[in-house]
């Protein structure tokens, strides 16, 4: 019985949150990795693009709520999601036309793009704060839980409860759909194949008549969708705050690099590696260990390896380890 309780406690506090967080990171990292693969630069504005997309979703959610439109028990935000994607796509294609295209024609080195993306980051950050303010926004509605802790206890008779928030369920389901669609697109469609060709070898792709501007345009559209979805899922699961989204940049980049920059499979794997390490290292293991250990060995402290405030340190340390021992990432990205 203790063993079962330990497993339930573990799933409740570690596995389920980490799977949800990992899915959010994975979708975010997919966006970074696609831009890296096609446009060949590290987009520092990605966190703020996610914030922008989420902001549009929140504004539409509020509007729908005020009109009484809802798809309960699902959160209204899902209904607003397509509008968020649309606006983010317009924004990204707009910035590409106004900002990035110039440097593409100049054939600038990647570092210049990176600095340009810092400028875009500044503008998006200011824009989001200007429109919705720097504060915390909660916009989740609909049913809060798929399984409530108390129901689970009554159902199984265990001492530990298992709660699954609906936002976590939605995150995982959406992530699976998004990733399946993306891979189908990249592997089966003509456009997707041309994107992969362009990413693998630009010169050969140009030679075989692939239109680079079209590839870039489609990349931005996909990235807009990915960024908005990732941001909205994260916001539904936790809450929306512009600065938090900026800070997500580090775990997202860590995920993309750990998996191998430019490799979509790698981005997904990296997302889960980072999320699981972050959650397990900052989790207080006392509860789980109390069930597993004999009574005499009960831990006295919280058995928390690292305070939650240091969760960035976890992604950073993993990043450093990967950089030291396998700079191309787990899935041999195109880095180095």
């Amino acid at each position: 019985m203790d063993f079962l309780n330990a497993i339930v406690a573990l799933s409740n506090f570690v596995i389920i949150p980490a799977v949800a967080y990992g899915s959010q990171l994975a979708i975010g990292a997919l966006g970074v990795t696609l831009i890296y693969g096609i446009l060949r630069f590290s987009n520092f504005a990605h966190g703020d693009t996610m914030a922008f997309g989420t902001m549009v979703v929140i504004l539409f959610t509020w509007w729908f709520q005020s009109m009484g439109i809802s798809i309960a028990p699902l959160p209204t935000a899902l209904l607003a999601l397509p509008f968020g994607i649309l606006f983010t796509a317009l924004l990204l294609v707009g910035t590409d036309r106004v900002v990035y295209r110039f440097y593409r024609r100049q054939k600038s080195v990647p570092v210049i793009y990176l600095i340009v993306s810092l400028g875009v980051m500044f503008i998006l950050n200011g824009l989001v704060r200007f429109i919705i303010g720097p504060g915390d926004q909660r916009f989740a509605d609909g049913a809060r839980f798929l399984i409530k802790a108390r129901d689970f206890k009554e159902m199984t008779g265990l001492k530990e409860g298992l709660a699954i928030k609906s936002s976590q369920g939605i995150t995982v389901i959406t992530a699976v759909i998004v990733v399946a669609l993306l891979f189908w697109f990249l592997n089966k469609t003509r456009t997707g194949k041309s994107m992969r060709a362009f990413s693998d070898n630009e010169d050969l792709a140009l030679l075989s008549g692939i239109n680079p501007e079209r590839v870039v345009l489609i990349t931005w559209l996909i990235v807009a969708a990915l960024a908005t979805v990732a941001g909205t899922l994260y916001g539904l699961d936790k809450s929306f705050k512009p600065f938090t989204y900026f800070q997500l940049l580090l775990p997202i980049f860590a995920s993309a690099i750990v998996g191998g920059l430019g490799s979509p499979i790698g981005a997904i794997a990296g997302g889960f590696v980072i999320a699981f390490s972050e959650v397990t290292i900052t989790y207080a293991w006392k509860k789980v260990l109390t069930y597993l250990m004999p009574d005499a060995l009960d831990p006295s402290g919280l058995v928390q390896l690292l305070a939650t405030e240091y969760k960035f340190a976890v992604s950073f340390v993993i990043l450093v380890i990967v950089l030291l021992f396998r700079p191309t990432g787990l899935f041999k990205g195109k880095a180095l």
Partner: protein, 434 residues
């Protein structure tokens, strides 16, 4: 217009802007802009060394600034004997154990042959060291933080004069830069950017949470000054008399005296660093650095150790930023870890370097002043603009109140636009590299 007249007229413009602020707003705010402008100029000098001369992307300027700030606390605050008695030695021992563990695992990973024995051995050392570290460190931290938590709750510093903290701040930053450089240099340039972004977030997290060292979010206030306090000046009869002689009341005179004193100190540091940077830039070493930046492969073919040179200049640049950070905390006389914002400290310094002219030391200094001036003045201008734009709307119109309340965020927008416009139309900056 020759280069020299251009440089001269742009710096004259900065002087006019600052003096103009003195006439239009107040001399106190003009001196505030001047002092922070001097510090910003030093920061951008450091980043210019890394980016402009060596082409290294440091996106963690904030962390090095914060380390400089930490140095002021560690050096100049009075030690707290009670806290030291409670757990000072154990904390030091714990840190030593932590460092020894990392050292031992690095040593082991170099000595043991590749394969499972190495992985297991290193893991065993890390695990054992970590447990030992926790056992000594955590109880000591709890004991220290329990000593007068409202007023102290930390170990304090060494009680040395604050000016010593400036070079020490540089040393701390250099140490952090060494660790980062060792791991991320020699790989793609983006990796350094991401690694520095990470380390700066971690440094801020440490400052916010390690209460025994920096009091965390409780802030350290009352950091000693290198200059007399206003109140002492006002009570000094000879000072009051001198103030009266130039027709100033003692309060204004004392604040101006202190601010001008800081301005002089900062100017000395800036001129010294600028002189050194110019010497370095025009030396064989500087030419080698630029050669490496312009064509790494060619430089490598000429037998230059590119990674080692990059590490060197990365450490130097970070040290300069650390010195500036220590100076800034000295000026504020308090360490507030929560005030370190990446947009303000990392990316704004980047705007300074790009706008001023990367690769040109004078340009970086100029950028520091101009961008800092804009950063300070954009807020009132934005507010004024919003009021003018929304004037036709009713006083309690929701849109109007929202726009006026959000005017503060105009700064980020303006800086981003400024950066993009410069990059597009004048990528070499106001004072281009020769």
């Amino acid at each position: 217009m020759s280069d020299q007249t251009k440089t001269f007229s742009l710096f004259a413009l900065v002087a006019v802007l600052i003096i103009g602020t003195g006439f239009v707003q107040s001399w106190n705010s003009a001196l505030f802009i001047l002092n922070m402008g001097l510090i910003s100029a030093i920061m951008s000098l450091g980043v210019n060394l890394q980016w402009g001369i060596a082409g290294l992307l440091n996106v963690g300027v904030m962390g090095f600034v914060a380390l400089g700030g930490l140095a002021t606390v560690l050096i100049s605050m009075k030690p707290d004997p009670e806290a030291w008695a409670a757990g000072g030695p154990s904390i030091l021992l714990g840190l030593l154990i932590g460092a020894a563990t990392i050292g031992a695992s690095i040593f082991a990973s170099r000595k043991i042959a590749k394969g499972w024995p190495r992985i297991l051995g290193v893991l065993a050392i890390l695990l054992f060291g970590f447990v030992l570290y926790r056992l000594t460190f955590i109880p000591a931290v709890k004991a220290v933080e329990a000593v007068n938590p409202a007023t102290s709750g930390y170990l304090g510093g060494l009680g040395l004069p604050i000016l010593i903290a400036w070079p020490v701040g540089g040393l701390l930053a250099a140490g952090a830069a060494w660790v980062i450089g060792k791991t991320a240099l020699g790989l793609r340039s983006d990796y350094l950017a991401i690694a520095t972004l990470g380390i700066s977030e971690i440094i801020i997290a440490v400052l916010k949470n390690e209460d025994w060292m920096s009091r965390g979010v409780k802030n350290v206030i009352g950091i000693p000054r290198p200059l007399p306090y206003e109140i002492d000046l006002q009570n000094d009869p000879s000072f009051v008399e001198r103030a009266a002689n130039i027709g100033l009341d003692p309060t204004t005179a004392s604040t101006l005296y202190v601010k001008i004193g800081y301005a002089l100190l900062f100017t000395i540091v800036l001129i010294a660093l600028l002189w050194l940077s110019q010497k370095a830039l025009n030396s064989p070493w500087g030419r080698m650095m630029r050669a490496i930046r312009d064509n790494e492969t060619a430089a490598r073919a000429m037998g230059k150790n590119v990674t080692a040179r990059h590490l060197q200049i990365f450490i130097l640049g970070s040290a300069i930023v650390g010195i500036a950070g220590a100076m800034m905390t000295t000026l504020d006389a308090q360490l507030t870890p929560a005030s370190y914002q990446p947009l303000r400290f990392t990316f704004l310094v980047w705007v300074m370097v790009i706008v001023g002219g990367s690769g040109n030391n004078l340009g970086a200094v100029l950028g520091g002043f101009i961008v800092w001036f804009l950063w300070v003045q954009v807020e009132p201008i934005g507010l004024w603009l919003m009021q003018v734009i929304t004037a036709p709307l009713a006083e309690d119109n929701a849109l109007r109140t929202h726009l006026i309340e959000s005017a503060a965020h105009m700064r980020l927008l303006t800086m981003g636009l400024f950066l993009l416009i410069m990059l597009r139309f004048s990528p070499r900056g106001l004072l281009p590299e020769k």
